[in-house]
């Protein structure tokens, strides 16, 4: 069945479907069972499935991550939820020393089917401790899968695939995506490890993660008006990475900008740039360009926060610079602004 729903509803629907079809799936974490239900994504789960399958926890991220791991090794499919990815840093021991290693160290005897869901991205002055993406950090560890959906359909399909996957999956959801509405076909399966071409073009490939896809699509529209057809590739899963789709696109366009929703230095963008430089060396017309956060902690105040984050405009200016074009006059161009949509306090 197809329906027009928001990203948050899509996540909720995926949880409901998986909990209906598999009694070993359960959802836990701070605040999953309160009236705000993680920005609506866990809405109604307690009512439908009871407090044994959807429950809040003490503030104990490290221990709760170990609890998820133990439950997963024992035949359950836990989904551990964090309202901000920054809090997963408290659980890095369980993730980096245990979760990612146990299967390997057991000689393949252990199976660890669990999902860690976390919200990333901007809000109302989220500042340095509530804004990290961390996908590059997680993907650095062999033994973890890392997923960053962008569209409501992918939110739905990739969450279902993540829950069904027999490995630990870190699933990162951008806060602004929650309000984005799109068609969701509830039968559509999207396996982990496949990128998606969101917009076709032959002049330049924009390889993007999470919210940067939304910015890139806007940039593609603006650039199309001056005859530049850029291709937008949504990586969708950071690990495993769909090298084929990315490399295929760059071989076609011979130009590439990597726009990652994270810091640039030592980040996932560096991995992409290295991959593309290596696999497309002969056909690149210029070095791969990288866009990302400014190399500072995320500031609270809005004018600096706006400079911290890359945007459609950043992408457009980078494309113009690389092609030696004059900067288009974009005064009056409506860019995505959350001023009208997103209000405080959180």
């Amino acid at each position: 069945m197809k329906s027009l729903i928001s990203f948050r509803e899509a996540l909720n629907l995926a949880l409901v479907k998986e909990m209906e079809s598999d009694p070993s799936v359960f959802v836990f974490g701070l605040d999953v069972d309160d009236h705000k239900s993680i920005f609506g994504s866990t809405d109604g789960l307690v009512e439908k499935f009871g407090g044994e399958r959807c429950f809040g926890t003490p503030l104990s991220e490290d221990a709760m991550t170990g609890v998820a791991l133990g439950a997963a090794m024992s035949g359950l499919r836990p989904i551990h939820v964090h309202i901000r990815a920054d809090f997963i840093l408290l659980a890095m021991n369980q993730i980096g020393n245990m979760m990612s290693n146990l299967r390997y160290m057991s000689g393949g005897k252990l199976t660890i089917p669990l999902v860690v869901r976390a919200v990333i991205g901007r809000g109302w002055g989220q500042s340095a401790q509530h804004s990290k993406s961390l996908h590059g950090v997680f993907a650095h560890f062999p033994g973890l899968k890392v997923v960053l959906p962008t569209t409501p359909q992918d939110g739905y399909s990739l969450l279902r695939s993540s829950i069904r996957d027999n490995n630990p999956v870190i699933f990162l959801e951008h806060r602004w995506l929650y309000d984005i509405v799109g068609d969701v076909d509830d039968e559509r399966v999207v396996p982990l490890g496949q990128a998606a071409v969101l917009h076709e073009g032959d002049a330049m490939t924009l390889v993007c993660s999470s919210w940067m896809n939304v910015e890139a699509l806007k940039a593609a529209k603006v650039l199309a008006r001056r005859g530049l057809a850029v291709e937008v590739v949504d990586v969708r899963t950071v690990s495993p990475l769909d090298e084929q789709t990315i490399v295929g696109s760059v071989k076609k366009t011979r130009n590439c900008i990597v726009a990652d929703y994270d810091w640039i230095f030592c980040g996932f963008g560096a991995e992409l740039a290295a991959l593309i430089s290596q696999r497309c060396f002969g056909c690149l017309e210029r070095p791969v360009e990288r866009l990302g956060f400014a190399p500072v902690p995320c500031p609270t105040t809005r004018p600096l926060e706006n400079l911290f984050y890359p945007s459609a405009l950043t992408i457009i200016r980078a494309v113009e610079r690389l092609f030696g074009l004059e900067e288009a006059d974009l005064n009056g161009e409506p860019f995505y602004s959350y001023e009208q949509r997103f209000k405080g306090p959180f």
Binding site: W124, G125, S127, G344
Partner: protein
């Protein structure tokens, strides 16, 4: 308590209350682009504890830090400048409400990640012992922070090393919307802490004189024989977890009765005390009027102040 001392405490309480009531009004205009965790109901704890601290003490806190910041610094203009994201704020607007600090006044750091300043305060106390200085270090945190392993690890280490650190638990019985009963597998906070080699005491955080008595007692014992101390103060969080509104009607807790509200409001309660010791209604009114002007000025100055220049984005990252 002497009248003069009591009136100076009252001034602090009123300043914090009026500043936060002002935030409640102004916040709806969407100009303060920072999440605000208001402490209406909790003012008595920061004010009472800090009142007892010897000069040179250092403090640490959480995102619910407005009372702590204002009581330690008295810096109304800087406070509002930070909330409006302006350059003249203590963090140049980079910090926002959740991360206020003023190291020059001993307020070393506050943090929006629960429990994270607790071991840092212990480290500051270790430095005092290491250098042979006798400064007191205080860390304020919510009851939820005690569910983090780091609280117990920090307490254990501080006790082991006999550090002069004061742990202050501001217990509102809630972590966002989750009640204590759904989060704690132990019977009582004070009982659990009592197993450690530290001084401990507790009481009603809405009762400022009681907070002061309690704090003085443990500080005195700490000065006689250095050991950590743990203070537990309960209070009512009058507003929603984050944001300017009340939330008694959304279903997870009941609205307090009029009598409860009056009893649990540290400002109203302290007014009774002031009248009891001989202050007049005019004395109180004079304080409120002076503070009102201070708050009005702070907000107006902040609204008209400049933001940081774009280059400020890149400053202050490394020494």
């Amino acid at each position: 308590m002497k009248k003069e001392e009591a009136l100076s405490l009252y001034r602090k309480l009123v300043l914090i209350r009026q500043a936060e009531e002002k935030i409640r009004q102004e916040y709806l205009k969407d100009e303060m682009k920072t999440p605000v965790h208001l402490g209406i109901g909790a003012e008595g704890i920061s004010v009472g504890v800090c009142h007892c601290l010897p000069a040179g003490s250092r403090t640490f806190g959480t995102y619910r830090n407005h009372a702590l910041y204002l009581t330690v610094t008295g810096d109304v203009d800087g406070f509002f400048a930070e909330l409006y994201g302006k350059l003249l704020g203590p963090g140049k607007g980079k910090a926002g409400s959740m991360h206020l600090s003023a190291p020059e006044c001993g307020l070393m750091a506050t943090s929006a990640v629960v429990g994270t300043t607790i071991p840092v305060a212990v480290g500051a106390a270790l430095a005092e012992a290491y250098k042979g200085t006798s400064g007191t270090v205080v860390v304020f945190f919510g009851d939820g922070a005690m569910e983090e392993g780091v609280f117990w690890e920090s307490l254990n280490f501080a006790c082991l090393k006999h550090l002069r650190v004061l742990f202050v638990c501001e217990d509102n019985g809630l972590a966002i919307h989750a009640h204590a009963g759904g989060r704690r597998g132990f019977r009582s906070i004070l009982e659990a802490v009592a197993a450690f080699d530290c001084y401990h005491a507790g009481g009603d955080g809405s009762d400022v004189p009681a907070v002061i008595r309690c704090t003085r007692r443990v500080l005195h014992r700490m000065s006689e024989q250095p050991k950590p101390a743990f203070l537990h103060f309960s209070y009512l969080r009058f507003l929603e977890h984050v944001g300017p509104k009340e939330d008694f009607d959304v279903g997870y807790r009941r609205r307090p009765s009029r009598e409860e509200s009056a009893r649990l409001d540290p400002v109203l309660r302290f007014e009774k005390e002031l009248l009891r010791i001989g202050c007049t209604l005019d004395d109180l009114e004079a304080v409120r009027t002076a503070v009102k002007e201070q708050v009005r000025h702070g907000v107006e100055a902040a609204q008209n102040a400049p933001f940081a220049s774009p280059m400020e984005l890149y400053t202050d990252v490394l020494a």
